[in-house]
């Protein structure tokens, strides 16, 4: 039982720690969760979300989503809006894996058509998409080319023939955060990342083949608008980020901020992982630019991976990606900071929104959404554990209070160390195959860490987001094939 006595219940799904909970809190901290999920939250969530509430310039509340768990600096699932004029930017509110995100791709194939070839498809994906520790990609770049990639994101992929105009339209911010200047990134970050374009990585990163069964369609109208039109339609979901490049950007600026935060700006923080700098300081602006470079690298990375997925399906079914209906539903970013306009104190205001392990979820009619999603709201892709299934949801107008943000995944309940003691990767692989999920991995140890029982129940997490008015369930997607690093 880790719930603090000071935690107040505001509604069925909103819990609040008042500013009196901890010295230095500037705003209350709010956690979205059902009764059950709040009881299961680890103590780190309460400690960390209340730490976030002490950051200079924070507006309204420090938030944590229902899949929240212990992170570093911010909790995973953390959201904070800063006044860009008086507030700070903190790499700890974005994470090391900048723009780790999810992409969902349609096919017009059904499970009956895919299942006979499932092993071949998964084996081919595993061979064609590099996975695992230190993997290098198939796109061979010079370091200068890589600088173009990080400035242009998916636009670079379009020029190289790895993307379509429609792909860019279906990616958050068109697959390119403007204002990414490669002069803000270190040589070391470039050296670390330029060989990794088109790689999945490891940990909780994966590429999964899933089925939308008729009984798992929650909102038929929105499902149709998102492209789920055939019973037992096969879709592909994948999760990865900016790889070593983004990790190095975050490390470089964490160190820089630690060196200037107190000495130059007199900012005192309660946790070194919350190192920050005023948004409009030279250091804050340099990090904002470097972070955008990493965001763009991640968009390009997922785009190149999508190109490979299309090639594999095209080869296996002797048809073009167009003929197979391989359109993107959407691409959502998890770990970012972005200037957005939101309501604050009764008027529209530009705010710097930090989202760490949480997803932007614009409601219907929001500017910036493709016209086809104007009535539905933004597609939200929430990955569950590899054993249990994932969700497609839609942003809701009622999400304004949380700056139109929702959960990003199941959220862990068990440490990786503990999971590895309890589960065995090879046995898990056999068990999953017996249950109709064919998995290929580089690492049985890594597979064991990702066992379904190490995570919260995805059904409860997404239900909590719907009850809280953050995102509405559209379809549950069940896995049949998976590749993992």
């Amino acid at each position: 039982m880790s719930v603090p006595a000071a935690l107040k219940r505001i509604s069925d799904t909103i819990w609040e720690l008042p500013v009196s909970y901890k010295e230095g809190m500037l705003v209350p901290a709010r956690i979205f969760a059902t009764d059950k999920l709040i009881q299961e939250m680890d103590a780190g969530v309460f400690e960390q979300v209340s730490n976030v509430a002490t950051l200079p310039g924070i507006q309204r509340y420090a938030y944590c989503m229902p899949d929240g768990h212990w992170g570093y600096g911010f909790p995973i699932g953390g959201v904070a809006a800063m006044d860009p004029g008086t507030g700070v930017i903190s790499p700890g509110g974005i994470g090391f894996d900048i723009n780790c995100g999810m992409r969902l791709v349609l096919t017009n194939l059904t499970a009956d058509q895919v299942l006979p070839k499932l092993h071949q498809i998964v084996d081919r994906l595993f061979a064609r998409i590099p996975t695992g520790v230190g993997c290098h990609g198939f796109v061979k770049l010079r370091q200068d080319d890589f600088r173009s990639v990080v400035q242009q994101g998916s636009r670079w992929c379009l020029k190289q023939g790895f993307a379509t105009e429609d792909d860019l339209l279906m990616t958050e911010e068109g697959g390119c955060f403007p204002g990414a200047d490669a002069s803000s990134i270190s040589e070391k970050a470039v050296e670390r990342g330029y060989n990794q374009l088109g790689t999945l990585g490891s940990g909780n990163h994966y590429c999964e083949i899933q089925v939308a069964k008729p009984e798992n369609i929650w909102d038929a109208e929105k499902a149709r608008a998102f492209g789920l039109t055939v019973p037992n339609q096969v879709v592909i979901m994948f999760h990865c980020g900016s790889r070593g490049f983004g990790h190095q950007v975050a490390t470089d600026y964490l160190k820089l901020f630690l060196s200037v935060m107190v000495r130059k700006y007199g900012i005192k923080i309660v946790d070194r992982e919350l190192a920050c700098a005023p948004f409009h300081s030279p250091e804050g602006q340099a990090y904002f630019s470097a972070m955008k470079c990493a965001v763009n690298m991640a968009f390009a990375n997922r785009q190149v991976i999508l190109h490979r997925i299309r090639e594999v399906f095209s080869d296996m079914f002797h048809a073009s990606p167009d003929e197979l209906g391989m359109r993107m539903v959407y691409d959502v970013a998890h770990n970012t900071a972005k200037l957005e306009r939101h309501q604050a104190n009764g008027s529209q205001k530009e705010l710097l929104i930090h989202r760490k392990g949480s997803t932007r979820a614009f409601g219907p009619g929001a500017p910036g959404l493709p016209a086809c999603y104007d009535k539905t709201g933004q597609p939200v892709i929430i990955g569950g554990s590899m054993e249990t299934g994932s969700y497609l949801l839609a942003g809701m107008s009622s999400g304004a209070d949380a700056f139109f943000t929702t959960a990003h995944g199941s959220g862990r309940t068990m440490s990786r160390h503990e999971a590895k003691k309890i589960f065995r990767g090879d046995k898990l692989q056999r068990d999953m195959e017996a249950r109709g999920i064919y998995v290929r991995t580089d690492s049985f140890g890594g597979l064991a860490e990702e066992a379904g029982d190490a995570y919260k129940n995805i059904d409860e997490v997404v239900e909590a987001t719907e009850l809280a008015g953050l995102s509405k369930r559209v379809a549950r997607l069940v896995p049949i094939g998976n590749i993992k690093g």
Binding site: I76, S202, S415, G445
Partner: protein
Amino acid sequence: MPFEYRGDIAHADIAFNAWAETLEELFNEAARATMQVMVENLAAVRPTQTVELQLDQESEEMLLFDFLNELIFYKDAKRLILLPAQLSFSKTGTGYALKGTLQGEEIDVTRHMMNTDVKAVTMLRYSLSHGPEGWRATVVLDV
């Protein structure tokens, strides 16, 4: 036991404590704890490649932070799994310096039992301290 993984500090990440009598041994243990997250059988890593290392920092604590980040850097940039072969420490006018060599080889999935990628060293609960029983570090790695 010179290092020990901890399940009670972080859920999504990997935490460890390391301790040793000398600073050099502590850096060695922390390196092994970090690299073993990625490669289960470190004994199978052959010392066929050598990388020279020189780092300067204001404190021994931040020197360890930079040192572990160097190991993570080479894993991505050169696909090298490296461990320290020789390390020497000295005081400088503004802090501390580390000079040494790292040895190891390129990842070979046919011989190396790969685990989970380490993305970064975090500042969560991060510490390096010296007491009557020697050096002790707590490190949380982002994976």
